[in-house]
Amino acid sequence: MKTLAIVAGLVMKEGRVLMLKRRRDRRHAGGKWEPVCGFFEEHEAAEVAVVREVFEETGIQVDMVRPGDAFELYDDGANWIIKPFLLRQRCTAPIVLDGEHEAFVWATPDEVLEMDCVGGMAEDLAAVGVIEPASV
């Protein structure tokens, strides 16, 4: 078993969360929806990593709202340590997707829970206080 540590960035705007659709041809979780996420660089703080990942994956600048507690989750053959953050878009720049994603949507938390997402989505939302822990 491999354990991998990642950050997840939940970018909110007017009550909606920015969700990205992974390209269908990706080896892991192809075609599934996810928030911005990515690996830490060595020695990099999670707060820095998540803002960097949002910019790399969407081209937008964000401000930190608050962190959520880290949690562990088994998904798609690996064990993940996920540190989620609630973020806010700084201005109204357009979203420009990187090569890893093929679509994006601003979805309400209820809509997110109905989407075909990677594992841990409800835990992410609960950890940053967007939904009640009981919904997980």
Binding site: M1, K2, T3, L4, A5, F39, F40, E41, E42, H43, A45, A46, E47, P67, D69, A70, F71, E72, I81, K83
Partner: protein, 133 residues
């Protein structure tokens, strides 16, 4: 606050765990005791990182006995995400060779651990790994 992700390895042998004393000149937690451990490299699995750290810090080839659940703690003005592992030395002589960042080492019982001036989070490490203090 900065949040940093690390792995730690409690190397366990004959009822004792390996603790290393940090160099007195270190900016963070100088002179305090800690298990082997350190930062994950980009895309590096925690399992691989902790075995690499055992080798880089203490010159030990080790294997993983089990892992504990990740937890978070505050220490030295930073917030740490810690993934702990219980390790055992591969070879029976378990010779320690300090390689970087440390000036001394000890194999201590969990009870002795309480008397050492340790970095924060040791009690959580021990608990997460089922090594009750």
């Amino acid at each position: 606050m900065k949040t940093l992700a690390i792995v730690i390895g409690m190397v366990y042998r004959q009822g004792r765990v390996l603790m290393l004393k940090r160099e007195p000149g270190k900016r963070h937690a100088p002179g305090r005791w800690e298990p082997v451990g350190g930062f994950l490299r980009r895309h590096e699995a925690a399992e691989r990182a902790v075995l690499r750290q055992a080798n880089e810090r203490a010159g030990l080839d080790a294997r993983i006995v089990r892992s504990g659940g990740a937890f978070e703690c505050e220490d030295g003005g930073a917030w740490w995400i810690v993934k702990p592992f219980l390790l055992e030395p591969v070879s029976s002589d378990a010779r320690v060779e300090l390689r970087n960042g440390h000036v001394d080492f000890k194999w201590v019982t969990p009870r002795e651990l309480l008397t050492l001036d340790c970095v924060d989070g040791i009690a959580e490490d021990m608990q997460a790994l089922g090594l009750v203090i």
